[in-house]
Symmetry: C2
Subunit: 260 residues, 2 copies
DNA sequence: GTAGATCCTCACGCCGCGTGAGGATCAAGG
DNA sequence: CCTTGATCCTCACGCGGCGTGAGGATCTAC
C-alpha cells in the first residue's frame, strides 16, 4: 500500500497535503483557483499544483477572514491592498461588524416570533378552545403576513428591544379599534357591499389611518410601531373570527385597496 | 391609459394583482408555481393564471412561515399535512427555533471576534508598536486559523458565554506554555532540524497534548476550550514573532504532522 | 510493471429568487 | 376595429461557495 506523503525538498505542497493540513477540501482550493483568489505558485510538468509557503500564508489569511464572515470577493480585495494599509482593512471590518449586527437583530426578531407562536400553540391546546385550534392557528399565520405588509414596511428591527416599555392601556385601546374595524369589514363582506361603495372608501381610509399612525411623529412612531409589531400575534389570538371569514376579508381588503 | 384592475366577478386574481396586494414579485409566484408550492387554481383560455381565494390564503400562510425562517421545501411539507395536525407543525417550529438559536450563537461568536480584532487594531495604532503593525495583524490572522483548526474542531459555540469565569492565573500559565512551545518550534525552524528528527516528534507530541486537553474531561473541557477560544487572539497579540517566522513555523508544523 | 492513491479538467446541483429576452394577450380609448 | 400600453407567458442564465460525481492522466511504492 502506497504512502501518501513525500514532497521531498523545497517545502512545496501538493493540493491534497495542503487541504488536509489546513482543514479544507481539495474542491475548495480548486474553487479558489477558479475565481483567482489563490492559485498555486507553481505547477509540475504534468500540471499538478505545487503550493509555496507564500501560498500557505495566503490561505491562512483567507480562512481567517472568511471566519469573520467576509465574502470571498471582499477577501480578495482586502488581500490585494498593499498589506500595510491598515485603515482600509479596519473600515472593511467595521462594515462587516455593522452587517452582522443588523443581521443578528433580524434573527433575534424571528426567534421571538417563533417562541411566541409556540407558546400560543401550547396554551390553546391546554384551553381546549371554543374554536378548532388549527383554524385559529392558521388565521394567526395569515394575519402575521397582513400585519407585516400593512403596518411595518420599513426597518422594524431597530425597535425590537422597546417592547417592555408599552402601557397595557394603549394596547387595549388599539385592540378595540382594530377589532371594531375588522368586524365592520366582515359585515361589509357578508352583506356583499360593492367595493365602489362610499362606505367602503371610508372604511379603507380608517384602516389606512391606523397604519398612518406609524409613519408620522418621532418617538410615538417607534413606540406605536413596536406595539403593533410585538402584539400583532397577541391581537389576532383573541379574534373570534374563523379562517373562512378572514379569507373573505383579506380578498375584500385587497380589492378595496387596489381601487382608485 | 388603461387601468389595471378589473377581475370582475368570481373573486379571482391575476398574478400581478396578487403580487402587488401581497407584497411579492410576479417572479416569486412563478417560482412557487415551478416548484409546485403554489399553482394558480385556474387558467384562462390563453394560459394566464387565475388565483382563487384558496390560493390567496395559501400564499399568506406560505409567506408567514417563510418569515419564520423555514425553507420552502419544509413549508410545502407543512402545508401538505392534513392541516389539523398541530403536533407535527409544533415539532417543525421547535426544530426551527433550535436551528435559529444555534445560528444566533455562531453569529454572536463572529461578532465578538470582530470587535476584538478592531480593538486590537486601534490599540496597536496608538502604541506605535515596536513591530510594524500590519505584520503583527497578519500574524494574528494566521494564528486564528491555526488555533481554530487545532484546538476547537467541534462545537465551540456552546460555551461562548462562559468567558468571564476564567481566572487570569490559568490564562498566564497557558500563555507561558504556549509561548515556550512556539519558541522551541521557531528554534527548530532556524536550525533547520529535519522533520524526521526525534526531537521534532517530541515537540509535536507536546503540541498535540495541549490540544488533547480540550478533548477529555467534562467541565475542564469546556472551561479550557473557551479559555483558548476567547484568548487566542489575545495570546497572539503578545507574541513578539514576525510574520515571516510564523510562516516558517506553520509550514514546519504541517509537515511534521503529516509525517508518520 | 502494476496497483492504488492522488491529480487533472469539465460540468451540473443547491436555494430563492432577480433580471432580462422575445413574444402573446389583455383592457380601454379613438 | 385598431391601436396602444400594460400585463401576461415561457425559457434561461446569474448569484455564492462550494459538493459531488465523470472520465481520464499521473504519481508513488512495491
Amino acid at each position: 500500500m502506497p504512502m501518501k506523503q513525500t514532497s521531498g525538498a523545497g517545502g512545496r505542497w501538493s493540493i491534497g497535503e495542503l487541504a488536509k493540513a489546513c482543514g479544507v477540501t481539495v474542491r475548495t482550493l480548486h474553487h479558489y483557483d477558479e475565481i483567482g483568489l489563490l492559485s498555486a505558485g507553481q505547477r509540475t510538468a504534468s500540471g499538478h499544483r505545487r503550493y509555496t509557503e507564500e501560498d500557505v500564508r495566503r490561505l491562512y489569511r483567507i480562512r481567517a477572514l472568511q471566519m469573520l464572515g467576509l465574502p470571498l470577493a471582499d477577501i480578495g480585495a482586502a488581500l490585494a491592498t498593499p498589506a500595510d494599509d491598515m485603515a482600509s482593512l479596519r473600515i472593511l471590518l467595521e462594515q462587516q461588524l455593522l452587517h452582522m449586527s443588523r443581521y443578528a437583530e433580524q434573527v433575534q426578531a424571528v426567534q421571538d416570533r417563533l417562541r411566541d407562536l409556540l407558546s400560543r400553540i401550547d396554551s390553546s391546546r391546554i384551553e381546549g378552545a371554543a374554536m378548532p385550534a388549527p383554524e385559529q392557528f392558521m388565521s394567526t399565520l395569515e394575519m402575521i403576513t397582513v400585519l407585516e405588509n400593512h403596518f411595518t414596511p420599513e426597518q422594524r428591527q431597530e425597535l425590537a428591544d422597546r417592547r417592555a416599555e408599552l402601557g397595557s392601556d394603549r394596547i387595549e385601546a388599539a385592540k378595540a379599534r382594530w377589532a371594531a374595524l375588522v368586524e365592520e369589514g366582515l359585515r361589509h363582506v357578508e352583506n356583499g357591499t360593492p367595493v365602489s361603495d362610499p362606505s367602503i372608501r371610508e372604511w379603507v381610509r380608517a384602516w389606512d389611518e391606523i397604519g398612518s399612525m406609524f409613519h408620522s411623529g418621532e418617538q410615538t412612531k417607534a413606540a406605536a410601531r413596536s406595539m403593533w409589531q410585538d402584539n400583532s400575534a397577541a391581537l389576532s389570538a383573541d379574534m373570534p373570527w374563523s379562517s373562512e371569514q378572514l379569507a373573505g376579508l383579506l380578498a375584500y381588503l385587497q380589492k378595496a385597496r387596489a381601487q382608485p
